[in-house]
Symmetry: C2
Subunit: 237 residues, 2 copies
């Protein structure tokens, strides 16, 4: 097992930026559990591993380093003992009956949790506005708990996307219909908005079914990942 | 408006620790939006304010400081321009028909989001095991988005708590009944477990209604705040 050179450290750190992840077609996965899952996953291509512990049963390139260097290359506040540089999965054309559309979700933890929740409910298709946080951001990857390899996330201009859809579009709006009262079709689109501002003005007209989670307490709103989960839970009936 | 003395800086920083929050009966709230909401809330008692901007319309003690000092006293990675030291709310005896019980939730973000979600659904009563993260931890307070002042969170030995309950106990378990098939009573208890380990072995026998969120995708589990939201959404029907 080789030691990690200064150039390699620089290269891994460079993948914290979206433009470098895009140009290299690579991203970083951290944490022993997630990396070990990826090594078992035939659809994932691991470029190299970095570890502070002993070597792993891995045929490719492995680097050994110390905890201080791991801290320097990690994109997380609590670095783990194992990190992998992984090829971005191919955009699949496999569509699920339901598509989740995200309009400007900003928080990496929310984004990762939404991807994990979609995966739980069998939704493999997420379409995001270009203002939505990159799904290969280290904190997003971490929060997906491995679902990033099973869900296809793509970014496009949502006005263009909605021009071409023929399925019903459910949009989470405070003034929508009570979610318990709607008839849920077999196929559809769920549109969720930004944490602070909700769904953009320009997209409201594309919503065929405004939908609302009934609440009777004092909170002004729900966390967007929780709201997504509640609505997907309702649709899973 | 006074400048912030070294002693005051030390005092505010000391409130990052639970033992100091407990002995002083105080905790810290950060962020302009949340602090401004508290100032309007008659049930909240603000001990003092710290700001990097101009003074606010507040009759009590106010300190002015610079951004670097704010960073030093803040319990968050991105400090805001406004911070308040606030008296812990009194434990209310007002009970909601549903009680949420948390068995060892560890992540502050999850905890805060759960409190916010409970508030949305009108649940004012949360009972936590002693292993659950403190609800006055700065990151928890931040994630509640103000719901910490409307929901009563208490900590006790859950075995003792469950010995004395007479409402049905729904527990989130992977082998539980499909949530869409259960009959939801008017009153009850929802028990949620720890992020990694779920509900403790010792508490399983207290569950009268094991309940499960049906999923058909690849994710092994759901985030605990999302799962809590989905189940409370189901119960809100």
């Amino acid at each position: 097992m080789d030691a990690l050179s200064k150039n390699k450290i620089k290269w891994i750190r460079s993948l914290r930026l979206k433009k470098n992840r895009d140009s290299e077609g690579l991203f970083v996965v951290e944490g022993a559990k997630m990396v070990q899952e990826i090594l078992k996953d035939e659809s994932a291509t691991v470029e190299c591993l970095v570890t502070t512990d002993e070597s792993l049963d891995f045929a490719g390139t492995q680097f050994h380093t110390d905890t201080a260097t791991m801290k320097a290359i990690s994109g997380l506040s609590t670095p783990s003992s194992l990190l992998a540089v992984v090829k971005k999965p191919q955009i699949s054309t496999k569509k699920s009956p339901w598509t989740l559309v995200l309009d400007g979700v900003q928080d990496p933890g929310n984004m990762g949790t939404i991807i994990r929740t979609a995966d739980w409910f069998g939704i493999t298709d997420i379409v995001c506005s270009q203002q939505t946080v990159d799904c290969f951001n280290p904190k997003v990857v971490q929060s997906t708990m491995g679902s990033i390899f099973r869900v296809c996330v793509r970014y496009e201009r949502l006005e263009d996307y909605f021009e071409n859809v023929d399925r019903p579009v459910f949009g989470a709006l405070l003034e929508g219909e009570n979610m318990h009262c709607v008839t849920v079709p077999k196929e559809g689109i769920l549109l969720m908005g930004n944490e602070g501002n909700g769904i953009s003005e320009e997209l409201i007209d594309f919503i065929s079914h405004p939908i609302h989670i009934p609440g009777k307490g004092g909170a002004e709103s729900l966390n967007v990942a929780v709201a997504t989960g509640i609505l997907l839970g309702r649709f899973s009936h």
